[in-house]
């Protein structure tokens, strides 16, 4: 336990046994690293192979004719073809721009509402349960109303993204603030923390892990709302993933349709990986998990 050496009698109690040994600092050979990478990768590769096999098996069973339900041997080449076209990247760009703007707006709305609810008791009583209720609502039911309000436009999609994502973000923030450990609040009070400083140094960092969980959930709702929106609110001639999907259906182009489904899955997985990484590193830093 090299960390306990301080020259003095700093750590002599039985207590010293509690000290955590330092993790993951030992030198590792390239072979060991390769083995570790392989150990993390093969289950994922196996899962992909398994899905492809199952998919191919269904195609071979002749459940549907191949022009409606093509196998991976036909979809994957289409997918690779597709991702080399500028139209594809334009569609992804438009969709992701909507996703990020919508999420940013939902973030702003969610933070304002979350802070307000955590601050004012009457507000909490009034709209606290409403927020929970909104979270349980499938956001797709808002689309007819949104289209009535905004017409067939991007604003209609944004409106639904905000309604879908903001409640989760607000909820995450409120519960993060609610569950700041009382011992920390008391310590802050004893040290004279108040006002803005109390929020900056104590409340916000303490609430951060739960807030990130709220963000992750909010993102999931935003992404779903966006996909539903792009399928329902088809803005004239504007390229997007949703538009590509519905166009592929109209042209009975099953190969393209399935390619775009795979793209939607891939984007979802990537963003989820990002949030998981943020969540994990935050928790490690906060010492919540080992």
């Amino acid at each position: 336990m090299p960390e306990t050496r301080t020259g003095d009698n700093a750590v002599q109690g039985l207590d010293a046994l509690e000290l955590q040994p330092k993790r993951g600092t030992a030198e590792r050979s390239p072979g060991e690293i390769a083995r570790a990478v392989w150990a993390g990768t093969w289950p994922k590769l196996a899962a992909v192979v398994l899905v492809l096999l199952a998919w191919q098996a269904v195609v071979w069973s002749g459940w549907r004719s191949e022009w409606v339900f093509p196998g991976p041997d036909r979809v994957l080449p289409t997918l690779f073809n597709e991702i080399t076209t500028p139209e594809f990247w334009e569609a992804v760009r438009v969709t992701m721009r909507r996703a990020f703007i919508g999420f940013a707006l939902a973030l702003a709305v969610g933070v304002v509402i979350g802070l307000a609810v955590s601050q004012f008791k009457p507000l909490r009583v009034a709209i606290g349960s409403l927020i929970t209720g909104l979270q349980t609502m499938p956001s797709i039911v808002w689309f007819p109303f949104a289209m009535l309000l905004y017409g067939i436009s991007e604003s209609a999609i944004m409106f639904v993204i905000i309604l879908g994502a903001a409640p989760s973000i607000a909820g995450g923030l409120t519960s993060g603030i609610d569950y700041v450990p009382p011992s920390l609040l008391r310590a802050g009070k004893v040290m004279g923390l108040q006002g803005v400083q109390r929020y900056r140094l104590l409340i916000i960092p303490a609430a951060l892990p739960m807030f990130v969980t709220g963000l992750k959930q909010g993102w999931a709702f935003a992404w779903r709302s966006l996909m539903a929106g792009e399928l329902l609110v088809i803005i004239n001639q504007q390229n997007s993933i949703g538009w590509a999907l519905s166009q592929a259906r109209q042209l009975n182009d099953a190969e393209r349709l399935l390619s775009y489904i795979i793209i939607v899955l891939a984007i979802g997985i990537m963003i989820d990986l990002f949030f998981n990484w943020a969540d994990r590193s935050l928790r490690r830093r906060w010492g919540i998990t080992q």
Binding site: E3, T6, D8, L19, Q20, V190, G192, Q197, L201, I288
Partner: protein
Amino acid sequence: MTTTTEPLTGTNAVEIDDISKVFGRGRGAVTAIDGMSVHVREGEFLAILGASGCGKSTLLSLVAGLEQPTTGTVSVGDHRVAMMFQEAALFPWLTVGANIEIPMKVNRVPKAERRKRVAELLDLVRLTGFERKRPHELSGGMRQRVALARALAQDADVLLMDEPFGALDAMTRDILHDELERIWREKSLTIMFVTHNVREAVRLGDAVVLLSSRPGRVISEFEVEGERPRRIDSAQIAEQAATITDRLREEVSRHA
């Protein structure tokens, strides 16, 4: 943080005069403290001893100004008060150094000065070199050392301690007793130390105040004899602890 700043008589650091504290109202009201008076001299180490429900923690909260007494006065003059608890309550997202800096940020101490003071305080609690560690990487005893450094960073001369070593093993506690005694002397602190461990009270206190339960009142006050530094396992400590334990037992049996 003071409850009142009325001038103190003589050389007292804390004067608690005939206070009572009632929580709640009507039928549900609970009297935590009833007619308690305690004076703490400047530089005194006062141990406060009592069974559970004697209002020990409430008493410290009143001195710290976290609560107001229902009747009576609590006065600390122009002394600055800091407080420590059984849990270290360090901010887990900050390093040890940044935790100690917080009270100085509250007091608007400039950054360079803060750095210097952190190094000094870590040296004082013998944690030099731990500045960049996070609280979850430390043992319980080390966390309490950091909490002590953080309390001292408030530039307080009155330190209120609410069973600060209650959750530690006996050996770690012994070591921290020595450390606390040393720091109390070096910094000329006034300490009010709440505990339910009789030996700990006798080991540390210049005097021991014994409180009754429900409501809290002062039953008696003992001056502790014996040269410092004392050993918790010495015969002199054991003898005095026995006397106080007997007195405490009478009190507990009255309520059991």
